[in-house]
Symmetry: C2
DNA sequence: TTTTTCTGTTGATGCAAATCAAGGTCTGCA
DNA sequence: TGCAGACCTTGATTTGCATCAACAGAAAAA
């Protein structure tokens, strides 16, 4: 790994609070890989050989069944994926592919498991990461089981707006068909749901969204902390 | 805590591989509580004051939104719940109530967090438990997003049969309306789905189920390891 | 016991969302 | 510049599931 790559990697949230010398010993066994867009990085059912950390680009986490496919989440720089499979030494439950060209840090699974046993700070960082991921999925399961398509979209818009600064102006960060899959609906339904938000003063042109009346949208969406608050 | 209670607690999977003296020091701050059926043990949105471990009885984990409610899972003896909230010192994302009278071990959250930092074996046990729980929710999310009601029921029957010994004879371990909520459907839909399984030689009388033709049911359900295999 | 309440089934109906189909728009590329 | 192939939208139709309603049977309470 090149020296300036190393510099970048040390800053990753996963290594926060972990001793510098230990981070470096982990990184010595790791490598950074570039992948073109649309390449499958991980396939569900395969043994978990690596822990992946995104350095650059967007990664879609998805899963398939029969001829169907659904997006579980879309991750960006700083996010890691499949910690649980690595820790338990089992197969991946989800697949992953880059939506853009990506730069990915790959940590050999065995080194991560050893790290968990040897360095308490690293163990804590892994556990915190996993706990956050766990709560994320629980929220998503509640989102799916308790809400209609329109409610999911409305709440996504509000949450995403907040994440992008809360100005009422936001960009959908990926294709609409990916968003539809993430929200658990067919692309056609997303199109129609967007149209259905017109009375709530939501304007969508391409990927750019303007929320002209946040109060109206809020009264439809009715977000609650235990589903929608990312800091909760 | 009484001495024979202590004996029971030391056997819990959560303490497997953890030094006996450390387990005892944890248990000194803990207590075992009995609750009558239908009592709410934990309410979503409340701060996580305790880690709960089921000693006896069944506990329904559920969540609400507006006037709706859904069952996330039903847990039994040996299972713990809300590790992630305790570890992160955040609020519970789900509520819990006993379906039967229960006996619950309650570990103060602060002690658990200290334990994670102080005892590497306990930290590992917690992390493994959390990783398994995480993978369970991921599977459930896939189950919800990728399958129809009928497919979910068919796969549940197969998995539950395997869990109960694989004899083709099984008992539904709780009310059908709880099962319906767990499977993400209205009780009426469960009734009709059961009727729809008649051509597949599934016989249901009350809570007792007989699978007369597992092959036929398998061809409908089409289970896959990354959703249905509990050991994966 | 009788009465009441709860659980589960069945029928009728309405709605949400998937599917099928066609056309328009944008993008990358020859 | 023009074409091929995406992405997205809109319309028509079907399907899956929820809802409403009524009732039977079982369990709990009087």
């Amino acid at each position: 790994m090149r020296e300036d790559d190393l510099q970048d990697m040390r800053q990753l949230p996963l290594f926060e609070g972990v001793g510098a010398s230990y981070v470096d010993s982990l990184l010595r066994n790791a490598f950074v890989q570039r992948f073109p867009a649309h390449v499958e990085l991980v396939h569900e059912g395969d043994p978990a050989d690596f822990l992946y950390v995104i350095v650059q680009g967007q990664v879609e986490i998805y899963a398939g069944y029969r001829d169907r496919e659904t997006t579980i989440s879309v991750l960006g720089p700083g996010n890691s994926f499949i910690i649980a499979a690595v820790l338990l030494d089992r197969v991946y439950l989800k697949s992953a592919r880059g939506l853009t060209p990506t730069r990915i840090l790959m940590l050999p699974a065995a080194a991560v498991r050893e790290g968990f046993a040897e360095d308490a700070h690293f163990a804590r960082a892994l556990a915190v990461d996993m706990a956050l991921a766990y709560r994320g999925v629980v929220k998503e399961l509640k989102n799916q089981k308790l809400r209609s398509s329109l409610e999911r979209l409305a709440n996504w818009l509000i949450t995403e707006d907040a994440r992008q600064g809360g100005s009422g102006q936001l960009e959908i960060p990926y294709d609409k068909k990916i968003l539809a899959s993430r929200l658990g609906m067919a692309p056609e339904v997303l199109s129609r749901s967007i149209a259905a938000l017109l009375p709530y003063k939501v304007e969508i042109r391409g990927r750019h969204v303007t929320l002209h009346d946040r109060e109206a949208l809020l009264s439809l969406a009715r977000p609650i902390a235990t589903i929608d608050d990312p800091s909760c």
